[in-house]
């Protein structure tokens, strides 16, 4: 059950030039949250920008906190970057359908690219011991701090960067072949081309693949129908309600 929470900001740390990690005290949302779900954040006390912004829950703390990992890409995230410890943040959530791990027997493989890594850390926190994490980002700066945390949660971590400054120089799907035989479930979040590549390989290997989508949202709770994306057979699915996590087979991706 989602809720509305005026949460106190514990920290808003700049990880790189444009990536921040925000930690807030939101015990009700934290208690209700499952990996893959998101919150709707009010980024301004004024009417401009008007709408809340969706962010995945990046991790959950034992102290009733949750964290968000975000990149500054526009006005809303610029304002969020200015939030300071002690300020309050108006949150709604948790919303959406998270990752479904009921059918995972063998290890799960988490595949994240860029800010798509955000929900996967929470997932790593909640998964049993053995799991893989294939993580990609633009460069070492962005990737290194995150990679460490996945490793600490017991993931077998492999990395890729666009510029080769850390790990494999290239794309994450390249790393997948080696790992696939060992896994029963892939969970991925990141740029669409990456997720398509991953889904294609999973399909070939007959491994179930869950993908987490992003789209523009006005409400986050199924009321505006603004978050539709194409489903199968000319229908639409609503990212905030039927997703953000979908089984890749639910989507009309030309695999």
């Amino acid at each position: 059950m989602p809720t509305s929470e005026l949460s106190r900001i514990f920290a808003n740390d700049r990880l790189t030039a444009d990536v921040f990690r925000l930690i807030v005290h939101a015990p009700e949302i934290a208690a209700a949250a499952a990996p893959g779900q998101f919150v709707m954040v009010q980024v301004s006390s004024s009417l401009d920008p008007l709408l809340r912004r969706p962010f995945s829950i990046h991790s959950r703390g034992a102290d009733g906190s949750i964290s968000l990992l975000f990149k500054v890409v526009g006005r809303g995230t610029e304002l969020l970057a200015k939030a300071r410890p002690g300020d309050t943040l108006d949150l709604l959530g948790p919303f959406g359908r998270g990752f479904d791990l009921s059918a995972a027997e063998k290890p799960v493989c988490l595949i994240g690219g860029g800010m798509g890594i955000a929900p996967l850390l929470f997932l790593a926190q909640e998964l049993p011991d053995r799991k893989h994490a294939l993580l990609g980002a633009r460069n070492r700066d962005e990737l290194a701090p995150l990679a460490k945390e996945f490793a600490e949660l017991g993931c077998a971590v492999q990395l890729a960067t666009d510029d080769g400054s850390l790990g494999h120089h290239g794309f994450i799907p390249d790393l997948l072949d080696e790992v696939l035989p060992d896994v029963s479930q892939v969970c991925t979040c990141g740029p669409s081309p990456m997720m398509r590549g991953v889904a294609r390989k999973c399909r070939a290997a007959e491994v179930s693949c869950q993908v987490s989508l992003e789209t523009h949202m006005a409400c986050g709770m199924g009321a505006c129908l603004g978050c539709a994306v194409p489903g199968r057979d000319g229908s639409y699915v609503h990212v905030c309600k039927e997703g953000p996590v979908f089984n890749s087979e639910e989507l009309p991706w030309e695999l």
């Binding site: 009417l47 009321a223 505006c224 129908l225 603004g226």
Partner: protein, 308 residues
């Protein structure tokens, strides 16, 4: 103060307070249960329903604008059958009156929808969205031609005894002409405004921000236009006027009441503040107390224009 009287009347329908939710911005109500007490509202208006289910427009369907948003949802809805079988069971459990918003491509569509809903228990009123294109008349919106608006109203009026609200489009030269036409055709009330037609462009990609190119503008940005149209309309017709457009606070609601609205609808505000409607009810009570006013009905049309 136990003596505060927030009741208002829309035709035969008495509302416990004048705060309704606007169609298309409140889903089928259940989505908002975590955020407010639905039964505290004056009434609930659900997403527009058509005869057949509609898939809606391709994405992107929404874009934020300065103090507002554009939507081109394309009237996606489950259709009247699934509405009755899937949504009504929950909606019937609510004590707040339910008003169903309907839309069609032809007079027949509207008539049949009204017939179908007339039989369904738990529905307190019908709101007719006439901003839709008339497919038989080459796609001209019913809501921009007085005769066509009157024809839709008469068709629905003939098919149901439920209180009938006609929702007016602001994209016209003179909204009072439209209001008078539907009043004469049997509407019990008019609600206004629906969205203003707008557009947004991505300068970098040189493409429209909505797949549908144009969409409907709503939110605080449109409030001054809505308020003016409500004020003009309330002076032109004798049926109740329901004010819509950018209402997000009790102060906004009071402004619409003073301009002549008998009730108000909360739209886009539900998205950024899902408990807005209930907060507005509470805020109206607080306003009445502060102003030593017992009845909310005393505010309706009470704008002091110094005799103008």
């Amino acid at each position: 103060m136990e003596t505060l009287d927030l009741r208002v009347r829309i035709g035969a329908l008495e509302l416990q307070n004048p705060v309704l939710t606007a169609s298309g911005t409140f889903g089928y109500a259940q989505e908002f249960e975590p955020f407010l007490n639905l039964n505290r509202l004056g009434g609930i208006i659900v997403k527009g329903i058509s005869l057949e289910p509609r898939a809606g427009n391709p994405p992107p369907r929404i874009v934020e604008t300065a103090c507002g948003m554009l939507n081109a949802i394309g009237l996606e809805n489950v259709g009247v059958d699934r509405f009755i079988s899937e949504k009504m069971p929950y909606l019937r459990t609510l004590t707040a009156p339910l008003i169903v918003n309907i839309l069609g491509d032809s007079l027949d569509d509207y008539r049949e929808l009204a017939c179908r809903l007339d039989e369904v228990p738990g529905i307190s009123g019908i709101e007719v969205n006439i901003s839709c294109p008339n497919v038989k008349k080459g796609g001209v919106a019913f809501g921009s031609v007085p005769e066509m608006a009157a024809a839709v109203t008469a068709a629905v009026r003939g098919a149901t005894k439920l209180p009938l609200i006609v929702k007016l489009s602001p994209n016209v030269t003179d909204i009072t002409v439209m209001a008078k036409a539907v009043e004469a055709a049997g509407a019990d009330a008019v609600s206004l405004i629906n969205t203003l037609i707008g557009m947004a462009i991505n300068a970098e990609t040189r493409r429209p921000r909505l797949a549908n190119i144009i969409g409907g503008l709503s939110g605080p940005a449109v409030k001054p236009i809505a308020l003016r149209m409500v004020w003009q309309t309330a002076r032109a017709v004798s049926i109740p006027v329901i004010g819509i457009g950018g209402i997000g606070t009790a102060e906004d609601a009071v402004e619409f009441l003073l301009a002549g609205a008998t009730a108000v609808q909360v739209g886009t505000a539900n998205f950024y503040d899902p408990s807005a409607a209930e907060k507005i009810v509470a805020g109206l009570k607080e306003y009445l107390q502060r102003h030593n006013e017992e009845r909310i009905s005393n505010l309706i049309g009470a704008l002091d224009t110094g005799g103008k």
